[in-house]
Each structure stands twice: as C-alpha cells, then as structure tokens.
Symmetry: C2
Subunit: 304 residues, 2 copies
C-alpha cells in the first residue's frame, strides 16, 4: 500500500491534506486553519506550511502534491488562471500550474470562469469538488451553499454552467451594517423552522419585494408584532428564498429534478428545510469525499 500523491484542498481560511494510494484510499490526513490568508505570512510561506504538514504525515520528499482552491488565486501561492466553461477533469489538469519555489512537484489546479454577457462568474475550488461528485447521467444540478453559494450544471462529466449567489455574504452585511443591526441578534433567538420556511416561500414567490421584506423585519420589531420574534431566522429565510428563486430563474424549474446538495451540518439542514418548503427534491452528497475524488482524477491526468 504505497502513497500515490498528496491532495490538498487549500481555501481562504482552511487547509486539508490527504495522503492517498492510486485507488484513492486515504492513508493519512491533516487539517489546519492555515488558509490562503495566513499561509503567505507563515514561516517559509506556502511551501513551509505544506512541508510541515507533509512531514507530520511522514511523507517522502519526492511525493507529488496536487492542490485546489484559493491557493491558486492571484493573492495565493502561484496564480493558476481560470479555465473557461465547459470544464472537465481533463481541462482542469491541463490548466494546472507547477509551483517553482520548492523542490517538490506541486501542482495547483485552476479555477473555472464563465464569460457570458450578464452572467460573468468565477469559482475556485468548487469546480474540483463538483467534478468529483458521484457520477450521473444527463443534466444535473448541484448546490454548494455558503458565503458565496454556487449552483452548478453538470452534463455527463462536464461542468457546463454555474451561478454564484452572495447569500452568506449578504446575510452578514445586512445583519451587521444596515438598520437591521438593531433587530437581528442571532445569539438571542432560536431557529424556528416554520418562520424560516414562511420567509423562504415569501422571497421565492415575490423576489422583487426583497428589500421591502427586509425593512419589514425592522418595522415589525418597532410595532412589537409577533412576527418580530425571529428576525435572524426571517432574514436567513428571505435570502435563501431569493437564492432559490435566482437558481430557478437561471436554470429552470427546480422541482423537476433532484438537486445535489453539497453541504454538511447546520447549513445542510437549513437548505434541506428550504427545499422542503418549496417541494424541491434534494439529496446530500459528501463534499469532502467529492473534492478528494476531483483532486485524484486531476492528479491521475497530471502525473500519468
């Protein structure tokens, strides 16, 4: 059982490393918070962080490494510029950039971009995860919720289109930096699924009214309405409802397919509740296994 490569999912604020054999079986694993934003300042920079983590796994000096994520951004280790849609494991591998400031063979996968009037978009890291999802047939839709939620269309093994929705980013900005900062105090309230689902349905049905519905959270509080008891839950529901309305507007009816939901923990529960509210079928996929499969597929093409 010998190591074939080390695979790294190296994001903005997290670092995950797996030592795998040629079949993808995991021989060792490391994770830390040395993401892109801190690794550059660490001792020895990105190479220093990587070598210390490999050393902790007892990895030989000549084992190649394949990485994806923000480590390949302009402000990362080495820039691996975006490849265009449609993208597949082959084009991802072709776009990989080899790092030159270390003796080890380290390859960084590119992000994917979409150049279309009115739909310019970029992703970095998610493409590797998406291309590592369990195989399927025909047109499939995947949802990767988060600060910048990605909705991605897969056709056979190609990533043909995608849209990013700033759901989590908007939540933080609105909760912290608008008039709603006086109302939204997540630490003071419990999550109420009925309130959440009502907000999802409201925003999905009438997305145009979003900014009025947001102000209404504040107004209900001033008027001491019962509806005012869950401002954070309502805000979350409205923004996720808007995201689902946007995905439907971009990709067609969501209730005629089964969406692959790539999420875990509380975020997965919340999106599942949103899907349930709108009768959208979804099944969860293990995001960590997916990114590892995507990295392995690229590594096989790069290192063959």
């Amino acid at each position: 059982m010998s190591a074939f490569a080390a695979l790294a999912d190296w994001g903005t604020s997290s670092f995950r490393l797996w030592l795998v054999d040629g079949e993808g079986a995991v021989l060792g694993e490391r994770r830390s918070s040395e993401g892109m934003t801190t690794a550059g300042e660490a001792e020895g920079g990105f190479a220093g962080v990587l070598e210390r983590q490999l050393d902790a796994l007892g990895v030989a000096g000549d084992l190649p490494v394949v990485a994806c994520g923000m480590v390949g951004a302009r402000q990362g280790w080495v820039e691996a510029t975006y490849i265009d849609t449609p993208a597949d494991p082959e084009s991802l591998a072709d776009g990989a950039v080899r790092v030159t400031d270390t003796g080890r063979a380290v390859f960084i996968l590119p992000g994917v971009c979409q150049r279309a009037e009115g739909a310019f978009d970029v992703m970095r890291g998610e493409e590797t995860q998406i291309l590592g999802l369990e195989a399927g047939e025909g047109r499939r839709l995947a949802c990767l919720p988060g600060t910048h939620s990605k909705w991605v269309v897969l056709e056979e093994d190609r990533l043909t289109g995608f849209s990013t929705f700033m759901t989590g980013d908007l939540y933080a900005a609105i909760a912290g930096h608008t008039i709603l900062k006086h109302s939204v105090k997540p630490q003071d309230e419990s999550f109420d699924v009925a309130v959440f689902q009502a907000a999802v349905r409201a925003a999905f049905a009438r997305p145009a009214e979003l900014s009025n519905r947001l102000f209404s959270i504040r107004a209900a509080g001033l008027l001491a309405q019962e509806e005012a008891q869950h401002p954070a839950t309502t805000l979350s529901g409205l923004l996720i409802g808007l995201e689902l309305a946007g995905a439907a507007s971009r990709f067609g009816r969501l209730d005629e397919t089964s969406v692959r939901l790539v999420a875990a923990g509380p975020l997965a529960s919340r999106y599942r509740a949103a899907f349930d509210a709108l009768d959208i079928a979804a099944h969860e996929e293990d995001g960590e296994a997916a990114v590892r499969r995507g990295l392995l597929a690229a590594a096989r093409k790069i290192l063959r």
Copy 2:
C-alpha cells in the same frame, strides 16, 4: 404680516425651521445639522436647540411650534407613537403629542404605521411631506428615494398604504461590507447613464437574480471585462431596479400612472434616469414645500 407658527422638519441628522404666517408664507428660515442624533446631547437638549434657532429668528416666547420627523421617535425628544393607515391631516393632528419640558407650546406629529401580514411598515416625517404634496384626484403614487425609499399610495387626501425599500442602506452595506468592497470604489469612477439603465432593466426584469448579478460585478472585475468599468454605477442600478420591481409588485404597473418623485439634486436625476429606462412617467415635486404645507395643515388643526 404676523407669525402664525414655527414649523420644524426635524430628522435624524438635519433640522429645518420655518416661521410662517397664517397663509403659509415664509417669514424666516433656519437650517442646521442638529438632527435627532446630536440634539439630545446639545446644551439644553432638544429644547435648547429649538430655542436658540427661534431666537436667531427673533421669535416671541409664546409662538407655538409644530414639528415632524425623528424628533418624535422613541429615542427623540418625546415619543409620538405611530398612527395607523389610512392617515390624513386630521388624524396626524389628532396624534400630535405636546412636549412638557418647555414653557413653549411645542407639538410633535406622529409617524404612520401599516399593520398588515407580510407588509409591516413604518414612516416618520415622510407622512407629513406626502400629505403636503400638491392636491390631486383619484389614486396617486409617490416615490421618496433615499436610504430607506418610501413608495406611498394617496387616495384623495388620505395616505392609504406604503412600502419601504432599503435601497440606500443596502447600497452602503454591500459596497462597504461584502466581497464587492474590492470592486466598488465610487470615487474612482464616473456615472455612466447607459450602464446604469442597463442594470436597472436587468434587475427589474429578473429581480430573482439580484444576488447573482451582484457577484457578477466582482467576477467581471476579476476577468477584466469591459463591464467591470462601472461597478458602483452597476450596483446602484441593480438596487434601484430592484426597488422599482418591488414597487410594481406591491402597487401594480408603474407605467400606467405618473409617479410623483419627491427628490432633488443628483438623487432625483438618478431616479429619473431609472424611470426613463422603464418608460415610467414621473414628475418631480418640491419636497421642502411639501413638508411645509403638511406641517401647516396639521398646525391649523392643532392650533385652531
């Protein structure tokens, strides 16, 4: 030519005072930045601010004052609680609260609230301005753009419904506190009316896609697209387009009426450009004259 009353439009960050005769002719005028947020901390508090401004106009100690705006909020001078829609000059006057910590007769007008499932809303100050707009017949729609834009329905001389859109508040939060802070630098760009109008149309046509369109501003910048040259203009256009879509969703087609636009300066120009982009007819009204007329109408009822 003797003074009938002093009228004050006392908002969050501004104070305006007019000395008027019984017909509403302006005999004297003062304006300062002693709004609600600073007046409470000034020497003598709200009463001190008011007396110094009246003194500068040489006003006698027994002249009554009628004020509207945030001065009547919970955190203002004296709380004048909201009256319900429908509201008219009579009910505004009935809801006025007399200040007790000064020898002078000072009355503060209430705000207006709307208690309707899914449409809770409040205003404070705008109701007085709206009820002072030039008279008209039938159902009319007014737009008061700003941090919290108000869209108001008037039927004869009654304010029957309204919706607030957090357009300006959202602009500042998104431009300053999301990923777009790296792209949106208003000081570095000129206003491009064609780019603005295209963004207005895009958001109006597909409001569901708002949060994707927002991210697209960032993506276009990363991809160095030509569309990336006016991120602040685009952001403004998207949010105003969303507001207009919301107003249409709440109040019906906007192109079958003439909207009264209560704004001045650059904000009025921007909204007029947005209306033009969607073939919505609008005519501008003088907001300052309107609030003075609204205050005078209430003063006549209170002081008669």
